[in-house]
């Protein structure tokens, strides 16, 4: 099953494995899942998780437990761009509702859903620690802060 993980992903996991004791391969599970998710269009299918389990000599269920615990892992297919929008207290006070509404309009995706063309997924998340510049969202590894509807348009226009 390890073939489901690309050679690059495996090489990268191997690098992490070097940091941990040989008999505790499961220590690399978080990174491995991130890498696997990136390689697999942004989400973790069962067979990809199984591949990670096999690669790290872990029971499959132990990998499912980790993947379902953290909200950064997607267990269902996501759009090409996953927009993680914060609606926690600071952002809410700075009108994140408006940002959400605007995002829904622009992308055609409902909050916690994916647009029909498969381009966008909107995901409501809790505080991402950027309260000083609320409201904010995250796309990929980038934070976008001090958002206004205009700024959102600009950002979305810049996406393919």
């Amino acid at each position: 099953m390890a073939y489901l993980l690309s050679a690059e992903v495996r090489a990268e996991i191997d690098k992490w494995l070097e940091k941990y004791p040989k008999d505790q391969k499961q220590s690399a599970v978080l990174t491995a899942l991130h890498l696997a998710q990136e390689q697999n269009q942004g989400w973790l299918s069962e067979d990809v998780m199984d591949a990670v389990a096999d690669y790290l000599d872990m029971p499959k269920i132990a990998v499912y437990e980790v993947a379902s615990f953290y909200s950064m892992y997607e267990l269902k297919p996501v759009g090409k761009h996953k927009i993680a929008v914060c609606t926690n207290i600071s952002c809410m006070l700075r009108n994140s509702d408006q940002i959400v509404k605007h995002l829904e309009q622009r992308t055609g995706a409902k909050l916690n859903g994916t647009s029909e063309d498969g381009k966008f997924t909107l995901k409501e998340v809790e505080c991402l620690g950027a309260c000083v510049n609320a409201p904010m969202f995250q796309i990929g590894k980038e934070y976008y802060e001090k958002l206004t509807p205009e700024k959102v348009d600009e950002i979305l226009d810049g996406l393919e």
Partner: protein, 788 residues
């Protein structure tokens, strides 16, 4: 280590340092409520029900995870403790559905019990409760996951005891769910234990479900009868019917566990085809008769046969699950009639070393010692399937760091890592043992004849490694499983094992078939010795030879010849051509009825008192817990009357215990016989058979008539389905692929589905026994081709 003093609820108790408050309290008989804590599992401390008040602590502490310290003062019922416990209870009940009236656990539920003591009578929670979808985890355990309180006992059991991490907690917080995540059955031979472990009604017994309430049941102690461990059980009875089976704690044997086979085989007790009336075949008609008629018919037929052909033309073959009393009386009847042809070793093919065995084949250590071995060689044993409880003990040893070695004709998936493994075709097993022995000879003293025997043996690297492990281990044991004992060169395997044991100074254990092989040996249900190991002037023939020679009359005791014998085909031929076949049987097997002439209904273990001796020589007597069905009678009573019918002396028993006492007296007076001695085989078998070999074993739920009748066990996916299993390269050679249907000839024929299975070594195919579809196959070379 010195004990330390602590005070719990004003009571001074002495406890081992390092133990937890809850252990100390349990020992002192002070009740602390708990859900997640279980003495056989690791500590999770996640339910918080066990909070107690510890002096000088700033807040209540979990008793299950707080180690005792000298002078500690604990209060389990102070106001602080009570408040904490009550609050936790309230939290635990927030999401619990409180559906006790429709819950199978009702009346025996830890949550219900604890809620009685610590819960409030009204709920302050008005919000919506969460609900969780039920999972289908197979035919044995049913789930109502909304009731789950996330104690994680079932999860820890999988990881720590069963060795299969299948259940887990996915999601988090409010969304946490216990389950398998992907829909699948739990595949463990010990899975039923999670029913006992689950403190609520989330995991309950599927076969028992909705059939009775806990308070309607009476509990009776009994012994499990499907493996040589003899787990202690409790049968739960309602209106003269066994409703379910649960373990009875016995630290020396099954601890708190029970295998699924022992737990769910009871379903077969009430199967539709119970034999409840004696029957006689007249021409081709079976007619039901009363006992006196049946006994007279039996006597006349056997007498005629003996007069005409001599008593040596009579053989008695008994299931290895029979009781000591049955074995004893069966051999007494037969020997009284002048025949020594008594045997219980249905599945063995080779008996050359039977005279070299001590009092009985068994374990040279006790079960708890098994977990403290430093090295264990599993020889021809899929131990989890053959002896589930022992599998757990071996796994315990492995978790302690023991080097487990495996030498098998199939690659088994053990639940523990192996330090070395050889998977070789059956014919090569002896060579590998010879290799290990020869590797030992480099440093160890060896008998001259052994050196000569192994002169040409080539030692492989793995042989050397195994020899090293056995030698270096402070304590080690070789465990002979069914694949070793049913081998056509079993005697050589056992002799070589003994040689290795002598040289490396390790123990030997035979994991015998059935529940009472040890009892059979001691009671004399063997052809070459009388009861209590007494010697005989003339030896009888073994079960195998009795069928091969096709005698004139047979007495069978709970044997289904097609499915239970080493060579079902041969057994059937012998029985169909015999003049008289008398079958003492619990079930009305249609195939048995084709061969038998007289059927005598005998009771299963639940309906008779009887004694079983387990693999470490522990005698355990079980009582009858329900009355016999119909006219069925305990085997010992039937055999006693048989003795009376033939006017044999000494058949005046009035109870099962008087039979037992007679044998025990003989044992007390018997001289103790030594262990298996090294006897040099004449030669080593030739490994190159030059033909395709068949590997066979009994899948775990096909081992005896009772389990075969337990539908829930048959529905599990754990055992190998009927078919022919082979390596992909082997399949390619035979021009077969997965999904094909193959035609097989091995004297008889079979048509079976092909499974590709890389566990099977090249040069052999694996065809499980115990299925009707494979019952016509015999021994020797096997021809496999694609079915047209």
């Amino acid at each position: 280590m010195d004990k330390i003093d602590i005070e719990i609820d004003g009571k001074m108790v002495q406890v081992d340092p390092g133990s937890m408050i809850i252990e100390a309290a349990d020992e002192a008989g002070i009740v602390i409520p708990r859900f997640c804590y279980h003495k056989k599992l690791s500590i999770a401390a996640n339910c918080r029900m066990c909070l107690v008040d510890v002096e000088k602590a700033r807040k209540p502490l979990p008793a299950c995870a707080t180690p005792v310290t000298s002078g500690m003062i604990v209060r389990t019922k102070s106001q602080l403790a009570r408040e904490a416990q009550k609050s936790v209870m309230e939290f635990l009940l927030i999401n619990h559905p409180l559906d006790c009236p429709i819950c199978d656990q009702g009346g025996e539920c830890e949550l219900q019990d604890v809620a009685m003591g610590y819960g409030d009578d009204v709920s302050r929670f008005t919000e919506g409760k969460r609900s969780v979808k039920d999972k289908d985890i197979g035919p044995l355990v049913s789930t109502d996951m909304t009731r789950c309180i996330h104690c994680t006992r079932c999860i820890r059991f999988g990881e720590e005891v069963a060795g299969l991490r299948e259940l887990g907690a996915t999601g988090r917080g409010e969304h946490m769910e216990v389950g398998t995540y992907v829909a699948k059955s739990v595949k463990s031979e010990l899975s039923g234990n999670i029913i006992d472990l689950c403190p609520v009604g989330a995991l309950t017994s599927k076969p028992f479900r909705f059939s009775a309430r806990a308070w309607e049941l009476q509990q009776r102690n009994s012994i499990a009868v499907h493996d040589c461990v003899g787990s202690n059980t409790q049968l739960h009875i309602r209106r003269n019917e066994v409703m379910r089976v649960v373990p009875q704690e016995n630290e020396a044997i099954n601890e708190t566990w029970l295998s699924d086979r022992d737990r769910f085989s009871y379903v077969g007790l009430n199967s539709d085809d119970r034999l409840t009336q004696p029957m006689i075949r007249q021409k081709d008609q079976w007619i039901e008769v009363d006992w006196p008629t049946a006994f007279v018919a039996m006597k006349d037929a056997l007498t005629a046969c003996i007069e005409q052909h001599g008593p040596e033309q009579v053989a008695a073959i008994a299931s290895p699950n029979s009781t000591v009393e049955e074995f004893y009386l069966l051999q007494k009847v037969l020997r009284g009639l002048g025949s020594n042809n008594v045997d219980h070793r249905l599945r063995q093919k080779n008996f050359d070393d039977q005279d070299e065995v001590g009092a009985y084949p068994g374990l040279e250590c006790n079960l708890s010692e098994l977990a403290h071995m430093d090295s264990i060689l599993l020889l021809g044993s899929n131990i989890h399937h053959e002896q589930p409880i022992l599998g757990h003990r071996v796994r315990k040893a492995a978790r302690r760091g023991a080097q487990v070695l495996a030498l098998n004709p199939l690659k088994f998936n053990y639940h523990f890592p192996l330090a070395a493994e050889s998977v070789v075709p059956p014919a090569e097993l002896c060579d590998r043992l010879a290799g290990i022995a020869k590797a030992l000879m480099e440093t160890q003293q060896a008998p001259e004849d052994a050196k000569k025997l192994l002169a040409n043996t080539v030692v492989s690297e793995t042989d050397k490694v195994m020899a090293q492990h056995l030698l270096q281990a402070e304590r080690a044991i070789i465990l002979l499983g069914t694949l070793a004992q049913h081998h056509s060169h079993a005697a050589t395997i056992r002799r070589l094992s003994r040689l290795i044991c002598q040289m490396a100074n390790v123990d030997l254990g035979w994991l015998t078939d059935g529940a009472n092989a040890q009892g059979a040996w001691l009671a004399g249900a063997i052809p070459h010795r009388g009861p209590a190991n007494s010697s005989l002037t003339a030896q009888g023939v073994t079960a195998h030879d009795a069928f091969e020679k096709a005698l004139k009359a047979y007495v069978l005791m709970n044997v289904e010849p097609n499915l239970d014998c080493a060579d079902g085909r041969q057994a059937r031929h012998a029985l169909t051509s015999a003049d008289m076949v008398i079958a003492l049987s619990t079930f009305k097997d249609p195939l048995l009825m084709e061969m038998a002439h007289i059927l005598l209904p005998i009771t299963p273990y639940s309906e008779t008192a009887g004694t079983y001796v387990n693999v470490m020589g522990e005698w355990q007597t079980a009582r009858a817990v329900v009355t016999p069905q119909g006219e069925a009678r305990p085997g010992w009573k039937v055999l006693r009357v048989m003795g009376n019918m033939f006017n044999l002396p000494g058949f005046e028993y009035t109870s099962q215990s008087s039979v037992l006492a007679e044998l025990k007296e003989q044992l007390d007076n018997a001289s103790s016989s030594g262990g298996l001695q090294w006897v040099c085989p004449e030669s080593l078998p030739n490994a190159d058979k030059g033909y395709l070999e068949r590997i066979t074993q009994w899948p775990l739920y096909r081992v005896d008539p009772l389990v075969r009748r337990s539908q829930p066990l048959q529905e599990t996916t754990l055992q190998d389905a009927v078919g022919i299993y082979m390596h992909s390269d082997q399949a390619a050679k035979l021009n077969l692929k997965a999904g094909d249907v193959a035609h097989i000839e091995q004297q008889g024929t079979a048509t079976l589905n092909v499974f590709i299975d890389e566990r099977v070594p090249l040069g052999s195919v694996y065809v499980p026994a115990g299925y009707l579809e494979t019952a016509d196959l015999s021994g020797g070379s096997i021809v496999v081709r694609r079915d047209k």
